[in-house]
């Protein structure tokens, strides 16, 4: 695959996909707003509506860049976040070798794919804190930790101002769960790479 040239390298294209009702668009909006309003970057958001919003596949396309964005549609995402199997299947053929793939491990079964991916049981974790609908916020935290495309402070503040009044604390908790899980996963990979899988040598 031809390499992308330098001017576009400062741009990150993120696709988040799942079912309607999972809060996919809100996750996209939080990521975009965090980048644009708090991290001082440019961002755009394109949402897929139509028949998809009624429980079918649904997606948010977010572009984050240091420069003015001329084209908000995404063909080959740098980061692909999948919260449903159908969403995954729809986008998986568009990925590049360098694409960062994040999935909800209980909802997406990737099968044999050529790239590495990062999995989190976001929906299960949301159920554990008693709010299944916060899986998107957990995923946003996970995205923040793994991709490093938006800052932690920006992400947290944006979560707090984007969710219904009175649910801020719980949403921040959900976000932190996802974020901590992401960091733990990165730490675990680092350890595994160094040959330290268990606690006892």
């Amino acid at each position: 695959m031809a390499d992308i040239n330098n001017t576009i390298a400062t741009t990150t294209e993120v696709v988040i996909t799942g079912f309607g009702g999972q809060g996919i668009i809100l996750a996209g909006r939080i990521i975009g707003k965090a980048a644009a309003l708090r991290d001082g970057k440019e961002s755009t958001l394109v949402q897929s509506y139509g028949p998809e919003s009624r429980g079918g596949a649904c997606s948010a396309q977010v572009v984050i860049s240091d420069k003015t964005i001329h084209y908000p549609y995404i063909r080959r995402p740098d980061v692909l976040v999948c919260m449903s199997q159908s969403g995954y299947e729809k986008y998986i053929d568009d990925i590049k070798d360098s694409t960062l793939l994040l999935i909800d491990e209980d909802l997406v079964h990737p099968g044999n794919i050529k790239i590495d991916f990062f999995a989190i049981p976001a929906t299960r974790m949301a159920e554990e804190i008693g709010r299944k609908m916060m899986a998107n916020i957990i995923m946003t935290g996970f995205f923040t930790a793994i991709s490093q495309k938006i800052s932690l402070a920006a992400a947290k503040d944006t979560v707090a101002e984007s969710v219904p009044k009175g649910t801020e604390a719980l949403n921040i908790k959900a976000f932190s769960k996802g974020y901590d899980f992401g960091l733990a996963l990165l730490k675990g990979r680092e350890k595994k790479a160094a040959g330290k899988i268990g606690a006892i040598a």
Partner: protein, 526 residues
């Protein structure tokens, strides 16, 4: 004045004849040596071997009969084991094992004996004085509260005489003529000298089950603690097990010049950061391991090592206190408040100097003592005390870790200090839930209602506490489990001890493992 002090325990039989010949000849036996005639070297147990060091001796010699010539057969062997274990403990304490030596002589070896005594004296002089002063500085003994004050501050008058405590007390249920209700009643009546009160005060396990049941919230274990302090101040002795060895060990650590070496040998895979403001406090584990080396074969230090490995696993690299002393739990619970406070002060000062912000410990007694008893007794604790399980729970719940199947059927022994006193019975269970046992089955009495392991603070161990341990182990076996998980090092020691009952054979035996070690063995990055 500043002369060296050497104690010679000398067996009555073989070597004493040789010594007597030296005396008759007016041989120049070094003046530093004070001889104590003993019936057999095998009778000088570890607590007697150690006691002179607590009192400031610079060296101790145990001299018995040559192998094969022991009048009682096994004396020399027992002496060899006791000396070996005690020497290792001296080493851990930083007193140097060379200060204690065992040797054997025949009656017709006076010259060899004299030469040995002289050499030992020279060796001790070369090592120098013991860091433990022989004259204890007279520190102000705090006026203990009067009986009336103890009774009123514990609100013993609130007792409704309902007897719930007695019917819950595991000691009473083991058949011992012991009743917390009656004990409280006798003390209120001022009958403190009676044998039943004297016996009762030192028998209570301070397990706290009665307090858990009492409708008037009479804190019986705390009351017992105060009564013990009261009696200790009146020079009344307790019923310390193992001849008071552990209390003696802890009192030795109250000398500021003692420089322990308990952290000296760490396995290579463990990372420590001397500059870290998070400190791991290990407790007395290495001393216990050495003490029980020949009896129980316990390895309590593994719990500490596995704790450190788990911290490292999560990229937490703590410091350790190179001169760590015992937390003082066992002194406090056997009434030695003065020495408890000295130990606490020395530990706290050392940690203050390092600017420690957080102390992590796996031992439930250290946890209880540092977090509760230090402040309770007016010792300021300028850092946060965290139990290892809290760290584990936080880190594990972040995710990305998994557990290997244990392949074991598991049951769990609660620690009274963690599950009942600190009210954290849920904490080990959360962790147990994460493990992958074939089956996890609780015993009939669990959590805050759990039965004690049979001893606290090394006091009052007797046939009744043994009966209660046997009952507990039978409960554990009746769950059909093949592994008993513990959370307190002492539970492991006391229960393993009970398993060795020669009359019960293998009836009580069971594999035992600490929860932290089980986690360390099975956890991995997903």
């Amino acid at each position: 004045m500043n002369s060296f002090k050497i104690i010679l325990f000398l067996c009555n039989w073989g070597p004493h004849a040789a010594f007597q010949e030296l005396q008759d000849k007016r041989a120049d036996i070094p003046a530093e040596i004070k001889m104590i005639r003993i019936p057999c070297s095998g009778r000088i147990n570890k607590s007697l071997l150690f006691k002179p060091f607590e009192m400031g001796a610079d060296g101790v010699l145990l001299i018995g009969c040559s192998p094969g010539s022991c009048r009682y057969g096994s004396g020399t062997d027992i002496a060899t084991r006791s000396t070996e274990d005690t020497r290792q403990i001296l080493e851990l304490l930083g007193l140097k094992k060379e200060r204690l030596q065992l040797n054997t002589f025949l009656p017709d070896e006076p010259d060899a004996l004299l030469q040995f005594l002289k050499n030992f004296c020279e060796e001790i002089k070369a090592i120098g004085h013991s860091p433990v002063p022989s004259e204890k500085q007279e520190h102000k003994t705090e006026e203990s509260a009067s009986l009336a004050e103890i009774i009123s501050s514990h609100d013993i008058y609130a007792c409704q005489d309902c007897g719930k405590c007695t019917s819950a007390c595991p000691l009473t249920l083991s058949g011992k003529p012991f009743s917390p209700r009656a004990l409280a009643g006798s003390i209120i009546a001022g009958d403190i000298e009676s044998p039943s009160v004297q016996e009762g005060i030192w028998s209570c396990l301070t397990c706290g089950l009665c307090y858990d049941r009492c409708p008037s919230a009479v804190n019986f274990p705390d009351f017992i603690q105060n009564m013990r302090i009261f009696f200790k101040n009146k020079d009344k002795n307790g019923h310390e097990s193992h001849g008071g060895f552990f209390q003696s060990l802890m009192r030795t650590m109250t000398s500021p010049a003692v420089n322990t070496k308990r952290w000296e040998i760490l396995p290579e895979d463990i990372r420590i950061d001397p500059d870290s403001k998070t400190l791991f406090f290990g407790g007395c584990a290495p001393y216990f391991d050495k003490y029980f080396n020949h009896n129980l074969g316990v390895s309590i230090s593994n719990t500490n090592m596995d704790s450190l490995r788990l911290l490292n696993f999560f990229d937490i690299v703590p410091s350790v206190l190179s001169n760590e002393r015992c937390c003082g739990h066992d002194l406090l619970w056997t009434g030695d408040l003065d020495n408890f406070k000295i130990l606490a002060g020395l530990n706290i000062d050392a940690m203050k100097n390092l600017g420690i912000e957080q102390v992590i410990t796996t031992c439930p007694e250290c946890y209880r003592t540092l977090s509760h008893d230090y402040p309770e007794h007016g010792i300021d604790v300028p850092f946060k005390v965290t139990h290892m399980y809290d760290i584990l729970e936080t880190e594990i719940s972040k995710g990305a870790v998994e557990f290997k199947e244990t392949g074991k059927k598991i049951t769990f022994q609660d620690s009274c200090r963690l599950s009942r006193f600190a009210g954290r019975a849920d904490l080990p269970r959360k962790l147990l839930q994460r493990l992958k046992p074939d089956i996890f089955k609780e015993m009939p009495e669990t959590g805050s209602a759990a039965i004690c392991c049979g001893n606290t603070g090394w006091t009052g161990c007797d046939s009744h506490s043994k009966a209660l341990q046997a009952k507990r182990l039978r409960q554990a076996r009746a769950t059909g489990s093949d592994l008993l998980i513990t959370s307190c090092p002492k539970c492991q020691i006391h229960l393993k001890c009970a398993m060795q009952d020669p009359f019960l054979g293998n009836e009580l035996s069971m594999d035992v493992m600490d929860l932290t070690s089980m986690i360390a063995k099975t956890i991995y990055w997903k």
